[in-house]
C-alpha cells in the first residue's frame, strides 16, 4: 500500500434519508493527521463517519481508506479502521479486560500481543483497578474510556471518534486527549467530531466544517481565519458561528 494514499478520501458521497444528509461530499484526510469534523446538529458528521465505518450504505460516491475501496472491499477497510460512537456500545456483563479480549478476537489480534496491549491500555486510561469489574456499574465517562481502549487494541491506522469527550471529567478528558495525540505522533490518523470547539482548536491539525451535508470550510486555524476574514485572535467558536450561519441569518 503506498504511504502517499490519504487516510480517508470521500468523493461525491451521497446519503439521503428523505432529504440529503450527506450531499456530494468531497473530503480528504491525510495520513498521520488529527482532523476535526465540525458542524451544527444534523450537518451530516455522524452519517459520514457511519458510512466510512461500514455501518451505513452510501447511496453513491466513493470511500477510500488508505487506498482501499471501502464500498467494494469492506472487510479489508474494516481491518484498519476503528470507530467509537458517541454512545459507547459495551456489554454490561463483561469486565474491561474481557471486552478487550473479545474485540481483539474480532480483529484477529494474536492472543499474546492482545493481552499485552490490553494491559497497557487499561493502565494508560486509568482503568487498571477496575479491570475485573463489570461495565454495568461504570459511569458514562468510564464506559467511554473502555470503548476507546477497545478501538485502540487492534492498532487501527484510522481512528474515528464521535464526540469522544462527552461525559468525561477534566482529568479523564486530559488523559484521552494526551493518548490520542500520542497515537497521532506514532503515525495513526484520527478524525473526531466534537461540539467542544476548544478541543478541536487546541489539538487538531486541520478542521473541516460541514453544513447541510457538504464541506463548507476546511483548513488549519490560520487558514480558516484567513478565509473567514476574522481577526488574528478570532476563536474557532467565532469562526464556526460565522461560517455556519444560514443565508437567512446573514441577511437578518
Amino acid at each position: 500500500m503506498p504511504e502517499t494514499s490519504p487516510a480517508l478520501e470521500c468523493r461525491q458521497l451521497v446519503k439521503t434519508f428523505g432529504r440529503p444528509a450527506v450531499d456530494r461530499l468531497d473530503l480528504t484526510v491525510r495520513a498521520g493527521e488529527f482532523y476535526a469534523l465540525l458542524g451544527p446538529n444534523g450537518a451530516g458528521k455522524s452519517t459520514t463517519l457511519r458510512m466510512v465505518a461500514g455501518l451505513l450504505p452510501a447511496d453513491s460516491g466513493e470511500i477510500r481508506i488508505f487506498g482501499v475501496d471501502a464500498r467494494r472491499r469492506p472487510l479489508d477497510a474494516k481491518r484498519i479502521v476503528a470507530w467509537v460512537p458517541d454512545e459507547p456500545q459495551l456489554y454490561d456483563k463483561l469486565d474491561p479486560m474481557e471486552y478487550l479480549e473479545f474485540v481483539a478476537g474480532l480483529w484477529e489480534v494474536p492472543a499474546g500481543a492482545a493481552r499485552a496491549r490490553a494491559e497497557a491500555l487499561l493502565r494508560q486510561l486509568d482503568l487498571w483497578d477496575v479491570r475485573r469489574e463489570r461495565c454495568e456499574g461504570f459511569s458514562r465517562g468510564m464506559k467511554q474510556k473502555v470503548a476507546l481502549a477497545g478501538a485502540l487494541i487492534h492498532e487501527p491506522r484510522l481512528l474515528m471518534l464521535d464526540e469522544p469527550l462527552t461525559g468525561l471529567d477534566a482529568g479523564a478528558a486530559r488523559l484521552v486527549k494526551d493518548l490520542l495525540t500520542a497515537r497521532v505522533r506514532e503515525g495513526a490518523t484520527i478524525i473526531l467530531t466534537t461540539h467542544i470547539l476548544e478541543v478541536a482548536e487546541r489539538i487538531c491539525d486541520r478542521i473541516g466544517i460541514l453544513a447541510r451535508g457538504r464541506l463548507i470550510a476546511e483548513g488549519t486555524m490560520a487558514e480558516l481565519r484567513a478565509a473567514g476574514g476574522g481577526a488574528d485572535g478570532a476563536s474557532l467558536e467565532d469562526l464556526f458561528l460565522d461560517i455556519t450561519r444560514t443565508p437567512k441569518e446573514r441577511a437578518a
Partner: protein, 517 residues
C-alpha cells in the same frame, strides 16, 4: 394542602394509562376503530371457545362425581394461579429495583413511599390476574348465561388472588433482597421467582418420582375431604372460586390484609432496598488474573456469549426451569431401568419440544438481543461469520441443559432414544434457524416476552416444535411416518427463510425494545 391519597391515585392513574397504551400497542399500529374491532373479536372468540368447557362443567356438576370433579378443577387452578401471581410480583419488584425506570423520580418526589408501593403493587396484581382472567372469565360468563351464576365468584376470587399474591411476592422479593444483599439479590430473586412460578409443575414431577405406595398415600390424603385442621385453610381459595360465600369473604379478607400489610409495613424497607440497589457496586468477576486471551473470532465469540449467558439472571432462571422440567424425566427413566419403547414414545416428544424452545430462546438472545450490533458491524468479519460463531456458541449450553435427560433416554431405550435424540437435534436446529432468519432487534431483558414480538415467529416456533415432537414419537415407534412431520418442518423452514438478507449487521434497538406485530 395535598391530601395523602392524592399521590396514590395519580400514580395508579398513570400506571393504568401506560398499561392501556401498552395493550393497544400490542394490537398493532392501526386505527382505533381497527383496534376496537380486533379486541372485540378476540373477546367474542374467547367466549365462543369457553362455551364448550362451560357446557361440559355444567353437565359434570350435575353428575354423581360432579362436586369432586369441580373441586379438583378449582384446586388445580388455585395451585397454578397463586404461585403465578407471587412469582410475577417477585419478578416485577426485582425489575423495579434494578432497572429503576421512574423509581428515582418517584422516590425524590414528596409522594409517600407507601403510596408508591400501593399503586405499583395494585397495578402488578391487576396485570397478574388479568392474563389469567382473560381465559377464565369468559368461562364464568358463559356458565352464568347457562344458569350457573355462582361461577361469577371467579371475579372476586381472582381479585383476592391478585392482592394476596402481590403482597406475598413483594414480601418475598424484599426478604430475599435483605437476606442475600443487593449484589446477589437480582439473580437469587429471579431464580426464586421462576421456581415459585413453576412450583406446581415441579411438585407434580417430584410426586411422579415417589415410590408407588407413597404416591398413593399422598393422593389419598390430598383427595380426602380434609375435615379439620390446617388443610381446611388451604381449601379457602378453591371454595371461594366455587362461590362459597364464607370462603369468599375470608379469601377477600386475606388478600386485602396481605396487600395492606405489604403496603403499610414494607414501604420503608422498599425505599431502603431501592437506595441500596442504586448504590450497589457492580459485580466483580471472580479470580484475580485473567487467563489467556481467546484466539480468533470463533473462540472470542464463544467466550463472550457464554459469559453473557452465565451472567444473565433472566436466562439462568429460564434454563434452570427447562432443566428442572427435564431432570425428573431422566430420573424416572433411570429408576425404571430397561424401560420399553413406551417411555421413549412418551418422553422423546417432550425432549424435542424442550430442546427446540431452549435453542430458540438462546438463539434469540444471541442474535436479536445483541447488545452492540453496530459495533459488531464495524468488525472485519461478514455477517455470516458472526452469526455462525454465535450459533456455535449457544450449542454448548443447549447440549449441557439437555444431556442428563438425553443420556437417560439413550441408556434406557437405545434405539428409540437415538431416534428421539435426532429429532431433538432437529428441533434445536429448527429453533435456531428460525431465530436466525427472523431477527428483530430487542433488549436481552425481553427474552421472556419474545413471543409478543412477532406472532408469526412465535407461531412458527411452536409449530416446528410440534412437528419435531410428532416425528420423535413416531420414530420411537419405529414408524417411517416420522418422515412426514420432518418433511413438513423442512418445508416450513424453507418458507420462513428470507430470499435475501442484508449483508451487514447493525440495527438500533427500537426505543421500546419490542415492536408490536
Amino acid at each position: 394542602m395535598r391530601r395523602p391519597a392524592q399521590g396514590f391515585r395519580r400514580l395508579l392513574a398513570l400506571d393504568l394509562t401506560l398499561g392501556a397504551r401498552a395493550f393497544w400497542a400490542l394490537l398493532g399500529a392501526r386505527s382505533h376503530r381497527f383496534r376496537f374491532a380486533l379486541a372485540a373479536s378476540v373477546i367474542l372468540g374467547l367466549h365462543g371457545l369457553a362455551l364448550a368447557p362451560a357446557l361440559w362443567v355444567g353437565r359434570a356438576e350435575d353428575g354423581p362425581e360432579g362436586a369432586a370433579l369441580v373441586t379438583a378443577a378449582a384446586r388445580s387452578g388455585a395451585v397454578f394461579i397463586l404461585p403465578w401471581t407471587v412469582a410475577s410480583t417477585m419478578t416485577a419488584v426485582t425489575r423495579m429495583l434494578f432497572q429503576r425506570g421512574d423509581l428515582d423520580l418517584l422516590l425524590s418526589s414528596p409522594v409517600r413511599a407507601r403510596d408508591v408501593v400501593a399503586a405499583r403493587l395494585l397495578m402488578q396484581a391487576f396485570e397478574a390476574v388479568a392474563s389469567v382472567g382473560l381465559l377464565l372469565l369468559p368461562f364464568a360468563h358463559m356458565s352464568a348465561l347457562l344458569g350457573r351464576p355462582h361461577w361469577l365468584a371467579l371475579y372476586p376470587a381472582l381479585a383476592a388472588a391478585g392482592l394476596f399474591g402481590a403482597g406475598l411476592g413483594f414480601a418475598l422479593a424484599l426478604g430475599l433482597f435483605h437476606a442475600v444483599g443487593p449484589q446477589r439479590a437480582r439473580v437469587v430473586s429471579q431464580i426464586g421467582a421462576t421456581v415459585v412460578g413453576a412450583s406446581a409443575v415441579i411438585a407434580a414431577q417430584l410426586v411422579a418420582m415417589l415410590p408407588d405406595a407413597w404416591r398413593e398415600a399422598l393422593y389419598a390424603r390430598l383427595g380426602a375431604d380434609a375435615g379439620a385442621g390446617w388443610t381446611k385453610i388451604l381449601e379457602i381459595p378453591e371454595r371461594a372460586a366455587l362461590g362459597d360465600g364464607v370462603a369468599l369473604a375470608l379469601w377477600l379478607g386475606a388478600g386485602a390484609l396481605a396487600f395492606a400489610l405489604a403496603c403499610l409495613g414494607l414501604g420503608g424497607p422498599f425505599v431502603a432496598a431501592a437506595m441500596a440497589s442504586a448504590g450497589a457496586p457492580a459485580a466483580a468477576n471472580r479470580g484475580g488474573a485473567h487467563g489467556a486471551f481467546a484466539r480468533g473470532l470463533g473462540a472470542a465469540m464463544r467466550r463472550k456469549e457464554h459469559r453473557l449467558l452465565w451472567r444473565d439472571p433472566w436466562l439462568l432462571s429460564q434454563m434452570l426451569l427447562q432443566t428442572l422440567y427435564t431432570l425428573p424425566v431422566g430420573i424416572i427413566l433411570w429408576r425404571h431401568g430397561g424401560v420399553t419403547g413406551t417411555a421413549a414414545v412418551a418422553f422423546g416428544p417432550t425432549l424435542a419440544v424442550v430442546a427446540g424452545q431452549l435453542s430458540g430462546a438462546l438463539a434469540w438472545v444471541a442474535l436479536s438481543a445483541e447488545d452492540a450490533p453496530e459495533f459488531l458491524a464495524t468488525a472485519p468479519a461478514t455477517r455470516g461469520q458472526i452469526e455462525r460463531a454465535k450459533l456455535a456458541a449457544i450449542a454448548l449450553p443447549v447440549a449441557l441443559a439437555m444431556s442428563p435427560a438425553w443420556a437417560a433416554l439413550l441408556w434406557a431405550a437405545p434405539r428409540a432414544g437415538a431416534a428421539a435424540l435426532l429429532c431433538a437435534l432437529g428441533a434445536s436446529a429448527s429453533g435456531a434457524l428460525l431465530m436466525l432468519w427472523r431477527q428483530a432487534p430487542a433488549r436481552r431483558g425481553m427474552v421472556l416476552r419474545r413471543h409478543s414480538q412477532s406472532k408469526l415467529v412465535a407461531l412458527g416456533e411452536h409449530w416446528l416444535s410440534l412437528l419435531w415432537a410428532a416425528a420423535a414419537g413416531m420414530a420411537a415407534l419405529g414408524s417411517l411416518a416420522c418422515l412426514a412431520p420432518i418433511g413438513l418442518a423442512a418445508l416450513t423452514l424453507a418458507l420462513v427463510r428470507p430470499a435475501r438478507r442484508p449483508a451487514r449487521l447493525g440495527r438500533r434497538v427500537p426505543a421500546q425494545g419490542l415492536r408490536a406485530c
